[in-house]
Amino acid sequence: MTEMWRALSPGMQDALVALLLVAPGILAGAIVLGGLAPRALVRAMLRRFAWVNALFVLLIAVSVGVGTGLVAQERGLRQGSARAAEKFDLIVAAPGSELTAMLAAVYLQPSDMALLSGTQYAEIAGAEGVDFAAPIAFGDSYQGAPVVGTTAQFVTHMAGPLAEGPLFPARGEARGGAYAPLAPGASFSPAHGEADAAEHDAHDGVSYRVTGRMAPTGSPWDRAILVPVEGVWAVHGLPDGHAPGDARIGPPFLSDQIPGTPAVLVRAREVWGNYALKSQFTRKDMMAFFPGTVLAQLHGLMREIRSAMSLLAVLSQVLVTLSVLIGLMILVRLIARSLAVLRAIGAPGRFVFAVVWSYCAVLIAAGAGMGLGLGWGAARLLSAVITSRTDVLVTARLGWNEVHLVAGFISLTLLLALLPAWAAIRRRLLVDLRG
C-alpha cells in the first residue's frame, strides 16, 4: 500500500488527499439525499431569505478566503524570495552581516557596507575554479530605480540574453531591468543616493542612454537600471578598473585601479566548486556565503512564526466552523415554519432532514467555493502589492494546501450541518406551524 502510494505522482497524491478529505461530506450527502428530491424546496428557501443567505455565504467566503489567501501568500513570498536569490551562487563581501550583504546584493536594499579592496577582488577573480567574479557598485538611482554597476557576464548569467538590444557595448549605455522605468532609447542622468536621500543634481552632466532591456528575473533587479561597473566608478571620480585611457568594458580589471566593491558575485565553473570557493574566502578579512543558505536560515527562523500562524489559521477555521454551525441553527429557525408545513402535510422526517441539510450544504459549498475565489483574488492582490513594494516577484497561487484546507472545511461543516438538520426535525411541529 505504501509502495503504491509512493508510486503516485505528487499531484495525484494531493488530488487523492483532497478527495479523501471531502469524502465524508459527500458520503453524508449521498446517505441523506438518497432517493429524495428536495431541490425545488431548497431553491425556494434559498430565494425566500436571499439576502440573509447571501450574507451568510459571504461570511463563509471571507473567512475561507482570508485563510487560504494568507497561506498562499506566505508560501508565495517564500518562493518568490528564494527565486530572486537562486541566480546568486556565491557572494563574497567584507566581513559583517551576511543578511545585510544579501539584502544589498540580491534584493538591492540600500545599506552601508564595507568595501572589498581591488586586491581582494583580484584574488577572488583569479582564484582557481572561478567562472566569473562580478563586482557590483550601487548607490545611484533614477526615479526610485537603483542604478547598479556590474558586468555583462553576471547580467547574462542572471537574466539570460537581453530581451532587447546588445549588452554593454559602450560606457554611456545602460540596460533597463524588465520593469525599469525607462524604455530603450531613453536617456537619463542618475541621482546620487537612493529614495529620499537622493541628490538629483549630483551627477549633472552625466548621461546614460538605455539601449536594451533585460528579460524578467523575478527579482528586484528587474526594476534596476544596469550600467557597466566602470561607469559608476567613473561617475564618482574614482578609478574605473582599467588603466587610464583604456576604454575597455568588463574584466579583467587592474587590482590597483579598482576603487573597491561592496560585494562580488561569484560563479564557479562547477557547482561543487562554489563550496570550495566559499571555504577559501571565508576568513578574517572577507566572508563568503550562499544567499540560499542565509535565506533558508531566515525562513527557518520564521518557521516558528509560520507554525504559530498555521495554528492560528486552524483555530480560526474551527471558530469559523462553529460560527457556521450557530449561523445554520439560526437560519433553520427562519425556515422553521416552512419545515413545519412540510411535516404537517406528511413529509417524512428523513425528507425534512434532507431539505435542511441540503439548504445548509448549498450555503456551505457556495461560501467555500466563493472563498477559494476570494482567496485567489486576495493572494493576487497582495502579491501585486508586495511585488510593487519589494520588487521581489511574488506569485501566490492557490495550491493543494489550500484545496486541502477548503476540502476539510467543507467536509467538516457538511457533517456538522447534520446537527441543525437533526434539530429541525426535533422542533415542536405545532409551535412552528402556528408561527
Binding site: 432517493g35 429524495l36 428530491a37 428536495p38 425545488a40 424546496l41 431553491r43 425556494a44 428557501m45 430565494r47 425566500r48 415554519r337 416552512s338 408545513v341 412540510l342 411535516r343 404537517a344 402535510i345 406528511g346 413529509a347 417524512p348 422526517g349 425528507f351 411541529l429 405545532l430 406551524l433
Partner: protein, 226 residues
C-alpha cells in the same frame, strides 16, 4: 372503502393543566362532512390537530382504519397524514417561491420516485377542477387569497386522501370567495365520498355540510345532522 374515524376518551391538557379538549366519543362515518364550530379558544383547532396526529392527546384513542393514531410515533403519524389526510390551513401555508403547481404537487418531492409524475398530474388536475386551469406556472405570490386557498385545497387533494381536515379554510377570504370555496369543498367531499372535517366560524359554509358540531371548553355541546 373509506373507514370511519372514531375518537374515544380523548383528553388534552395545556402545559399548565388546563383542559383543552375532553371528548368521550366522536364517530365520523366515512364520507360525512362535518363542520366544527364554536367560540375562539373553545378547542376546535385542538380537535383538528388531534385528529390529524399533529397533537397527540394526553389520553384516549383516535382510531383510523384500525390504527390508533394517538399511539403511533411521529413517523407513523406523518405516514397517516401523507396517505390518508389532506390538510388545509386558514392562512394557506404555501411556499411563495413556488408556482401554483409546485405548491399543489408539493408531496411529489417526498413521494416515491415512481409515483411523482402521477402525483404532479393529479395536482394539475385538481387545480383545473378548482377553477385554476392554466395557472400552473403562476407564482403564488401573485395569486389572490381565494386562489391561494384553492391551491392549498389542491395540495391537500393531490394525494387523493380519503379525509380532508380543514382549519377555517374560508376565514381569510371575502364573502364571495368564501362562499365559492365552501361550496366547492362540500361538493368535492360529497362527490368523491371523502370525509371532510372543517373548523369554521362561517355559518354559511357550515350549513353546506352534513353535520355540525359545536364545541365549548373542549367539549361537544351540540351535534346536529341534516
Amino acid at each position: 372503502m373509506v373507514p370511519d374515524l372514531l375518537v374515544t376518551g380523548v383528553r388534552v391538557w395545556s402545559g399548565r393543566g388546563r383542559g383543552l379538549l375532553a371528548l368521550d366519543r366522536l364517530a365520523v362515518p366515512a364520507g360525512q362532512s362535518v363542520a366544527v364550530m364554536g367560540a375562539s379558544g373553545a378547542g376546535k383547532s385542538t380537535l383538528l390537530y388531534v385528529l390529524s396526529g399533529l397533537l397527540p392527546p394526553d389520553e384516549g384513542q383516535v382510531l383510523w382504519a384500525g390504527q390508533d393514531i394517538a399511539a403511533l410515533n411521529e413517523a407513523g403519524r406523518a405516514a397517516i397524514r401523507r396517505h390518508s389526510f389532506g390538510l388545509v390551513f386558514q392562512d394557506y401555508h404555501l411556499f411563495e417561491e413556488l408556482s401554483a403547481l409546485g405548491n399543489a404537487a408539493l408531496a411529489a418531492a417526498f413521494a416515491p420516485r415512481a409515483a411523482r409524475a402521477a402525483l404532479v398530474a393529479r395536482a394539475g388536475g385538481w387545480l383545473a377542477r378548482l377553477g385554476l386551469a392554466g395557472l400552473d406556472a403562476r407564482s403564488v405570490a401573485s395569486c389572490s387569497g381565494g386562489e391561494r386557498q384553492r391551491i392549498a385545497v389542491a395540495r391537500a387533494l393531490a394525494c387523493e386522501p380519503p379525509v380532508i381536515l380543514a382549519d377555517e379554510p374560508t376565514a381569510s377570504l371575502d364573502r364571495a370567495a368564501a362562499d365559492a370555496l365552501g361550496a366547492d369543498l362540500a361538493q368535492l367531499a360529497r362527490a368523491d365520498g371523502r370525509t371532510l372535517i372543517a373548523v369554521t366560524h362561517d355559518p354559511a359554509f357550515a350549513a353546506r355540510l352534513d353535520r355540525r358540531l359545536v364545541i365549548a371548553d373542549g367539549r361537544i355541546i351540540e351535534d346536529s345532522h341534516d
